[in-house]
Protein backbone atom coordinates (compact mmCIF):
# COMPACT_ATOMS: atom_id res chain seq x y z
CA UNK A 1 0.00 0.00 0.00
CA UNK A 2 1.23 3.41 -0.94
CA UNK A 3 1.71 5.80 1.92
CA UNK A 4 2.78 9.36 2.41
CA UNK A 5 5.43 10.54 4.86
CA UNK A 6 3.76 13.13 6.99
CA UNK A 7 5.35 15.68 9.24
CA UNK A 8 3.89 18.60 11.12
CA UNK A 9 6.44 21.24 12.07
CA UNK A 10 5.97 24.31 14.24
CA UNK A 11 8.48 26.94 15.41
CA UNK A 12 8.61 25.12 18.75
CA UNK A 13 9.68 21.88 17.09
CA UNK A 14 8.16 18.95 15.22
CA UNK A 15 4.76 17.90 16.57
CA UNK A 16 3.88 14.85 14.57
CA UNK A 17 5.70 12.50 12.26
CA UNK A 18 4.34 9.38 10.67
CA UNK A 19 2.83 7.71 7.65
CA UNK A 20 -0.61 8.10 6.21
CA UNK A 21 -2.62 6.80 3.29
CA UNK A 22 -4.58 9.95 3.05
CA UNK A 23 -4.22 13.44 4.40
CA UNK A 24 -7.21 15.67 4.66
CA UNK A 25 -6.78 19.40 5.25
CA UNK A 26 -8.89 22.47 4.92
CA UNK A 27 -7.37 25.13 2.71
CA UNK A 28 -8.57 28.67 2.19
CA UNK A 29 -10.39 27.56 -0.94
CA UNK A 30 -11.93 24.42 0.49
CA UNK A 31 -11.23 20.92 1.71
CA UNK A 32 -8.30 19.04 0.18
CA UNK A 33 -7.81 15.30 0.27
CA UNK A 34 -4.27 14.31 -0.56
CA UNK A 35 -3.33 10.83 -1.70
CA UNK A 36 0.13 9.46 -2.52
CA UNK A 37 1.44 10.61 -5.90
CA UNK A 38 -0.07 14.06 -5.68
CA UNK A 39 1.60 16.74 -7.77
CA UNK A 40 3.71 19.23 -5.80
CA UNK A 41 1.39 21.73 -4.20
CA UNK A 42 1.49 24.57 -1.74
CA UNK A 43 -1.69 25.79 -0.08
CA UNK A 44 -2.44 27.94 2.95
CA UNK A 45 -4.62 26.36 5.62
CA UNK A 46 -7.46 27.75 7.64
CA UNK A 47 -7.70 27.30 11.39
CA UNK A 48 -9.06 23.81 11.44
CA UNK A 49 -8.46 20.14 12.00
CA UNK A 50 -6.01 18.12 9.93
CA UNK A 51 -6.65 14.40 9.52
CA UNK A 52 -4.18 11.64 8.74
CA UNK A 53 -5.73 8.36 7.76
CA UNK A 54 -3.68 5.20 7.96
CA UNK A 55 -5.67 1.97 7.69
CA UNK A 56 -8.19 1.99 10.48
CA UNK A 57 -6.38 4.70 12.45
CA UNK A 58 -7.14 8.34 12.05
CA UNK A 59 -4.96 10.94 13.69
CA UNK A 60 -6.30 14.42 14.15
CA UNK A 61 -4.44 17.63 14.89
CA UNK A 62 -5.62 21.14 15.66
CA UNK A 63 -3.67 23.43 13.37
CA UNK A 64 -3.64 27.19 13.18
CA UNK A 65 -1.88 29.66 10.96
CA UNK A 66 -0.10 27.43 8.54
CA UNK A 67 0.21 25.97 5.11
CA UNK A 68 0.72 22.59 3.58
CA UNK A 69 3.49 21.58 1.22
CA UNK A 70 2.77 18.48 -0.83
CA UNK A 71 5.20 16.32 -2.76
CA UNK A 72 4.46 12.99 -4.40
CA UNK A 73 5.62 10.97 -1.40
CA UNK A 74 5.68 13.55 1.32
CA UNK A 75 3.38 16.00 3.03
CA UNK A 76 4.71 18.72 5.30
CA UNK A 77 2.50 21.00 7.32
CA UNK A 78 4.09 24.16 8.59
CA UNK A 79 2.01 25.85 11.23
CA UNK A 80 2.35 28.45 13.92
CA UNK A 81 0.78 26.03 16.31
CA UNK A 82 -0.34 22.43 16.10
CA UNK A 83 -1.59 20.15 18.84
CA UNK A 84 -2.71 16.58 19.22
CA UNK A 85 -6.10 16.30 20.93
CA UNK A 86 -4.40 14.86 24.02
CA UNK A 87 -2.14 17.92 24.29
CA UNK A 88 -4.91 20.46 24.14
CA UNK A 89 -5.42 22.46 27.30
CA UNK A 90 -9.20 22.48 27.48
CA UNK A 91 -9.39 24.95 30.36
CA UNK A 92 -7.20 27.42 28.55
CA UNK A 93 -9.11 27.06 25.31
CA UNK A 94 -12.40 27.59 27.12
CA UNK A 95 -11.07 30.72 28.83
CA UNK A 96 -9.74 31.98 25.50
CA UNK A 97 -13.12 31.40 23.93
CA UNK A 98 -14.93 33.41 26.60
CA UNK A 99 -12.40 36.20 26.39
CA UNK A 100 -12.69 36.35 22.62
CA UNK A 101 -16.48 36.38 22.77
CA UNK A 102 -16.44 39.23 25.26
CA UNK A 103 -14.11 41.21 23.08
CA UNK A 104 -16.24 40.58 20.01
CA UNK A 105 -19.24 41.96 21.82
CA UNK A 106 -17.40 45.11 22.81
CA UNK A 107 -15.28 45.86 19.78
CA UNK A 108 -16.57 47.61 16.75
CA UNK A 109 -16.25 45.84 13.46
CA UNK A 110 -13.41 46.28 11.01
CA UNK A 111 -10.65 47.19 13.37
CA UNK A 112 -7.64 45.08 14.18
CA UNK A 113 -8.87 44.04 17.60
CA UNK A 114 -11.98 42.62 16.09
CA UNK A 115 -10.05 40.53 13.63
CA UNK A 116 -7.71 39.28 16.29
CA UNK A 117 -10.54 38.35 18.61
CA UNK A 118 -12.21 36.56 15.74
CA UNK A 119 -9.09 34.54 15.04
CA UNK A 120 -8.68 33.77 18.72
CA UNK A 121 -12.27 32.57 18.87
CA UNK A 122 -11.74 30.33 15.86
CA UNK A 123 -8.64 28.82 17.39
CA UNK A 124 -10.40 28.19 20.69
CA UNK A 125 -13.42 26.58 19.04
CA UNK A 126 -11.21 24.43 16.88
CA UNK A 127 -9.30 23.21 19.92
CA UNK A 128 -12.44 22.55 21.94
CA UNK A 129 -14.01 20.65 19.05
CA UNK A 130 -11.06 18.32 18.80
CA UNK A 131 -10.52 17.85 22.50
CA UNK A 132 -14.18 16.99 22.92
CA UNK A 133 -13.89 13.96 20.66
Amino acid sequence: MNTLDVSVVTPDGPVYEGEAEMVSVKGTSGELGILPGHIPLVAPLTINAVRFKNGADTHVLAVSGGFVEVRPKQVTILAESAELPSDIDVERARAAKERAEQRLNQAKQDNVDFKRAELALKRAINRLDLAGK
Binding site: T10, S29, L32, T76, L78
Partner: protein, 287 residues
Protein backbone atom coordinates in the same frame (compact mmCIF):
# COMPACT_ATOMS: atom_id res chain seq x y z
CA UNK B 1 48.25 47.91 56.74
CA UNK B 2 44.61 47.01 57.15
CA UNK B 3 43.65 45.46 60.43
CA UNK B 4 43.18 41.73 60.81
CA UNK B 5 39.48 42.07 61.25
CA UNK B 6 39.09 44.20 58.12
CA UNK B 7 40.90 41.65 56.00
CA UNK B 8 38.90 38.83 57.49
CA UNK B 9 35.58 40.48 56.70
CA UNK B 10 36.71 41.16 53.15
CA UNK B 11 37.61 37.51 52.72
CA UNK B 12 34.20 36.38 53.97
CA UNK B 13 32.34 38.79 51.72
CA UNK B 14 34.39 37.77 48.68
CA UNK B 15 33.67 34.14 49.46
CA UNK B 16 29.96 34.86 49.57
CA UNK B 17 30.10 36.71 46.27
CA UNK B 18 31.95 33.78 44.79
CA UNK B 19 29.23 31.40 45.91
CA UNK B 20 26.65 33.54 44.14
CA UNK B 21 28.58 33.89 40.90
CA UNK B 22 29.30 30.20 40.89
CA UNK B 23 25.62 29.38 41.32
CA UNK B 24 24.70 31.81 38.54
CA UNK B 25 27.28 30.22 36.31
CA UNK B 26 25.75 26.80 36.82
CA UNK B 27 22.23 28.07 36.30
CA UNK B 28 23.27 29.74 33.06
CA UNK B 29 24.98 26.57 31.88
CA UNK B 30 21.75 24.63 32.39
CA UNK B 31 19.72 27.32 30.67
CA UNK B 32 22.18 27.42 27.81
CA UNK B 33 21.60 23.72 27.20
CA UNK B 34 17.87 24.24 27.03
CA UNK B 35 18.21 27.29 24.81
CA UNK B 36 20.45 25.38 22.46
CA UNK B 37 17.87 22.61 22.24
CA UNK B 38 15.12 25.13 21.50
CA UNK B 39 17.18 26.71 18.77
CA UNK B 40 17.78 23.27 17.30
CA UNK B 41 14.15 22.26 17.26
CA UNK B 42 13.36 25.45 15.40
CA UNK B 43 15.76 24.63 12.56
CA UNK B 44 13.54 22.18 10.61
CA UNK B 45 10.69 24.70 10.53
CA UNK B 46 12.97 27.47 9.34
CA UNK B 47 14.57 25.33 6.66
CA UNK B 48 11.27 24.21 5.31
CA UNK B 49 9.68 27.63 5.20
CA UNK B 50 12.79 29.05 3.60
CA UNK B 51 12.69 26.37 0.95
CA UNK B 52 9.09 27.08 0.05
CA UNK B 53 9.45 30.86 0.12
CA UNK B 54 12.61 30.60 -1.93
CA UNK B 55 11.08 28.39 -4.56
CA UNK B 56 8.09 30.68 -4.96
CA UNK B 57 10.10 33.89 -4.96
CA UNK B 58 12.76 32.63 -7.33
CA UNK B 59 10.76 30.10 -9.32
CA UNK B 60 8.42 32.39 -11.13
CA UNK B 61 9.28 35.84 -12.33
CA UNK B 62 5.79 37.26 -12.27
CA UNK B 63 5.23 37.33 -8.52
CA UNK B 64 5.02 40.69 -6.87
CA UNK B 65 4.50 41.39 -3.24
CA UNK B 66 5.18 44.56 -1.29
CA UNK B 67 7.40 42.62 1.10
CA UNK B 68 9.68 41.54 -1.73
CA UNK B 69 10.24 44.97 -3.21
CA UNK B 70 12.59 47.70 -2.10
CA UNK B 71 10.99 51.09 -1.93
CA UNK B 72 12.23 54.55 -1.20
CA UNK B 73 13.32 54.70 2.40
CA UNK B 74 11.64 57.39 4.44
CA UNK B 75 11.65 55.67 7.77
CA UNK B 76 13.72 52.78 9.05
CA UNK B 77 12.77 50.28 11.69
CA UNK B 78 15.30 48.70 14.02
CA UNK B 79 14.60 45.54 15.94
CA UNK B 80 17.08 45.24 18.81
CA UNK B 81 17.26 42.18 21.01
CA UNK B 82 18.77 42.58 24.46
CA UNK B 83 18.29 40.80 27.76
CA UNK B 84 16.09 41.64 30.74
CA UNK B 85 18.84 41.28 33.26
CA UNK B 86 22.43 42.42 33.37
CA UNK B 87 25.47 40.53 34.64
CA UNK B 88 26.05 39.10 31.19
CA UNK B 89 29.39 40.63 30.34
CA UNK B 90 29.46 42.64 27.15
CA UNK B 91 26.29 41.01 25.85
CA UNK B 92 24.03 44.04 25.98
CA UNK B 93 26.55 46.82 25.68
CA UNK B 94 28.03 45.54 22.44
CA UNK B 95 24.64 45.43 20.70
CA UNK B 96 23.46 48.74 22.11
CA UNK B 97 26.67 50.58 21.36
CA UNK B 98 26.63 49.36 17.76
CA UNK B 99 22.98 50.26 17.20
CA UNK B 100 23.42 53.66 18.81
CA UNK B 101 26.38 54.46 16.61
CA UNK B 102 24.68 53.20 13.45
CA UNK B 103 21.56 55.23 14.09
CA UNK B 104 23.53 58.38 14.78
CA UNK B 105 25.46 57.92 11.56
CA UNK B 106 22.43 57.25 9.40
CA UNK B 107 19.81 59.57 10.77
CA UNK B 108 19.64 63.22 11.68
CA UNK B 109 16.27 63.36 13.36
CA UNK B 110 14.16 61.02 15.43
CA UNK B 111 11.44 61.09 12.76
CA UNK B 112 13.52 58.98 10.41
CA UNK B 113 13.57 55.83 12.48
CA UNK B 114 11.74 53.80 15.07
CA UNK B 115 12.96 51.15 17.43
CA UNK B 116 11.42 47.87 18.47
CA UNK B 117 13.23 46.50 21.45
CA UNK B 118 13.22 43.25 23.38
CA UNK B 119 14.60 43.28 26.91
CA UNK B 120 14.59 45.75 29.79
CA UNK B 121 18.19 46.77 29.36
CA UNK B 122 17.66 47.93 25.80
CA UNK B 123 14.35 49.59 26.62
CA UNK B 124 15.79 51.77 29.36
CA UNK B 125 18.86 52.54 27.23
CA UNK B 126 16.79 53.96 24.37
CA UNK B 127 14.27 55.67 26.63
CA UNK B 128 17.00 57.45 28.55
CA UNK B 129 18.40 58.83 25.31
CA UNK B 130 14.98 59.95 24.10
CA UNK B 131 14.93 57.66 21.09
CA UNK B 132 11.55 56.61 19.72
CA UNK B 133 10.62 53.11 20.90
CA UNK B 134 7.39 52.04 19.21
CA UNK B 135 7.13 48.51 20.55
CA UNK B 136 8.85 46.69 23.34
CA UNK B 137 8.72 43.31 24.92
CA UNK B 138 10.04 42.66 28.40
CA UNK B 139 9.82 39.84 30.88
CA UNK B 140 10.26 37.19 28.25
CA UNK B 141 10.83 33.72 29.67
CA UNK B 142 14.16 32.01 29.22
CA UNK B 143 12.55 29.51 26.91
CA UNK B 144 10.25 31.69 24.82
CA UNK B 145 7.61 29.91 22.79
CA UNK B 146 6.44 31.18 19.44
CA UNK B 147 3.12 32.23 20.94
CA UNK B 148 4.96 34.57 23.36
CA UNK B 149 6.35 36.75 20.61
CA UNK B 150 3.78 36.13 17.90
CA UNK B 151 1.90 39.33 18.66
CA UNK B 152 4.83 41.66 18.61
CA UNK B 153 6.36 39.97 15.58
CA UNK B 154 3.17 40.24 13.57
CA UNK B 155 2.68 43.87 14.65
CA UNK B 156 6.22 44.63 13.54
CA UNK B 157 5.70 42.99 10.17
CA UNK B 158 2.33 44.72 9.94
CA UNK B 159 3.97 48.11 10.42
CA UNK B 160 6.14 47.42 7.41
CA UNK B 161 3.13 46.41 5.36
CA UNK B 162 1.24 49.52 6.39
CA UNK B 163 4.18 51.66 5.35
CA UNK B 164 5.10 52.79 8.87
CA UNK B 165 8.65 51.93 7.85
CA UNK B 166 10.24 51.11 4.57
CA UNK B 167 12.97 48.83 5.75
CA UNK B 168 13.59 46.80 8.85
CA UNK B 169 16.89 45.80 10.43
CA UNK B 170 17.50 43.22 13.06
CA UNK B 171 20.31 43.41 15.63
CA UNK B 172 21.21 40.64 18.02
CA UNK B 173 24.03 38.48 19.32
CA UNK B 174 24.46 35.34 17.30
CA UNK B 175 25.40 32.28 19.31
CA UNK B 176 28.52 30.64 17.93
CA UNK B 177 29.78 28.66 20.89
CA UNK B 178 29.79 28.87 24.66
CA UNK B 179 32.68 31.33 24.54
CA UNK B 180 31.91 33.21 21.36
CA UNK B 181 28.92 35.34 20.45
CA UNK B 182 28.95 37.52 17.37
CA UNK B 183 27.05 40.74 16.92
CA UNK B 184 24.81 40.28 13.91
CA UNK B 185 23.08 42.83 11.73
CA UNK B 186 20.43 41.50 9.40
CA UNK B 187 18.21 43.23 6.92
CA UNK B 188 14.86 41.66 7.60
CA UNK B 189 12.54 43.52 5.24
CA UNK B 190 12.13 43.88 2.34
CA UNK B 191 13.07 40.30 1.64
CA UNK B 192 15.55 40.86 -1.12
CA UNK B 193 17.89 37.93 -0.83
CA UNK B 194 16.08 34.76 0.05
CA UNK B 195 18.32 31.73 0.14
CA UNK B 196 16.80 28.59 -1.25
CA UNK B 197 17.60 25.98 1.39
CA UNK B 198 20.64 24.51 -0.36
CA UNK B 199 18.92 24.49 -3.74
CA UNK B 200 17.87 20.85 -3.52
CA UNK B 201 15.04 19.63 -5.72
CA UNK B 202 13.27 22.90 -6.33
CA UNK B 203 10.00 21.35 -7.27
CA UNK B 204 7.73 23.53 -9.32
CA UNK B 205 4.66 23.71 -7.16
CA UNK B 206 1.05 24.09 -7.98
CA UNK B 207 -0.41 26.91 -5.98
CA UNK B 208 -3.81 26.70 -4.44
CA UNK B 209 -5.56 29.15 -4.79
CA UNK B 210 -2.86 31.41 -6.33
CA UNK B 211 0.73 32.44 -5.85
CA UNK B 212 -0.19 35.91 -4.71
CA UNK B 213 -2.53 34.65 -2.06
CA UNK B 214 0.01 32.20 -0.79
CA UNK B 215 2.68 34.87 -0.55
CA UNK B 216 0.16 36.96 1.35
CA UNK B 217 0.12 34.29 4.05
CA UNK B 218 3.60 32.95 3.71
CA UNK B 219 5.77 36.04 3.70
CA UNK B 220 4.52 37.54 6.98
CA UNK B 221 4.86 34.10 8.54
CA UNK B 222 8.38 33.87 7.16
CA UNK B 223 9.37 37.27 8.49
CA UNK B 224 7.87 36.47 11.89
CA UNK B 225 9.76 33.24 12.08
CA UNK B 226 12.98 35.07 11.22
CA UNK B 227 12.37 37.30 14.23
CA UNK B 228 11.61 34.30 16.43
CA UNK B 229 14.73 32.52 15.17
CA UNK B 230 16.85 35.55 16.02
CA UNK B 231 15.31 35.66 19.46
CA UNK B 232 16.12 32.00 20.17
CA UNK B 233 19.63 32.57 18.91
CA UNK B 234 19.99 35.65 21.09
CA UNK B 235 18.70 33.78 24.16
CA UNK B 236 21.33 31.10 23.69
CA UNK B 237 23.97 33.80 23.29
CA UNK B 238 22.71 35.55 26.43
CA UNK B 239 23.05 32.47 28.58
CA UNK B 240 26.43 31.66 27.09
CA UNK B 241 27.69 35.15 27.69
CA UNK B 242 26.35 35.21 31.25
CA UNK B 243 27.96 31.87 31.91
CA UNK B 244 31.34 33.12 30.70
CA UNK B 245 31.02 36.36 32.65
CA UNK B 246 30.15 34.47 35.81
CA UNK B 247 32.98 32.04 35.32
CA UNK B 248 35.52 34.82 35.10
CA UNK B 249 33.92 36.49 38.10
CA UNK B 250 34.35 33.26 40.06
CA UNK B 251 37.96 32.99 38.93
CA UNK B 252 38.62 36.58 39.94
CA UNK B 253 37.07 35.93 43.33
CA UNK B 254 39.42 32.98 43.76
CA UNK B 255 42.43 35.15 42.97
CA UNK B 256 41.24 37.84 45.32
CA UNK B 257 40.67 35.37 48.13
CA UNK B 258 44.20 34.04 47.59
CA UNK B 259 45.74 37.49 47.80
CA UNK B 260 43.70 38.45 50.81
CA UNK B 261 44.53 35.24 52.64
CA UNK B 262 48.20 35.91 52.04
CA UNK B 263 48.04 39.41 53.44
CA UNK B 264 45.89 38.17 56.32
CA UNK B 265 48.57 35.64 57.26
CA UNK B 266 51.31 38.25 56.94
CA UNK B 267 49.40 40.60 59.21
CA UNK B 268 48.78 37.82 61.69
CA UNK B 269 52.47 36.89 61.77
CA UNK B 270 53.49 40.51 62.14
CA UNK B 271 51.17 40.97 65.08
CA UNK B 272 52.47 37.81 66.77
CA UNK B 273 56.06 38.91 66.23
CA UNK B 274 55.25 42.29 67.66
CA UNK B 275 53.61 40.78 70.71
CA UNK B 276 56.60 38.53 71.32
CA UNK B 277 59.01 41.44 71.01
CA UNK B 278 56.93 43.35 73.52
CA UNK B 279 56.90 40.48 76.02
CA UNK B 280 60.61 39.83 75.64
CA UNK B 281 61.52 43.46 75.99
CA UNK B 282 59.15 43.80 78.94
CA UNK B 283 60.84 40.85 80.67
CA UNK B 284 64.27 42.29 79.88
CA UNK B 285 63.31 45.60 81.45
CA UNK B 286 62.37 43.89 84.72
CA UNK B 287 65.71 42.18 85.17
Amino acid sequence: MASLRDIKSRITSTKKTKQITKAMQMVSAAKLNRAEMNAKSFVPYMEKIQEVVGSIANGSSGVRHPMLESREVKKTGYVVITSDRGLAGAYNSSVLRHVYRTINERHNSTDEYAIIVAGKVGLSFFKKRGMPVVESIVGLSDQPSFADIKDIASRTVGMFEDGAFDELYLYYNHYVSAIQQDLTEKKLLPLTNIETGGGKSLASYEYEPSEEEILEVLLPQYAESLIYGALLDAKAAEHASRMTAMRSATDNADDLIGDLTLSYNRARQASITQELTEIVSGAAALE
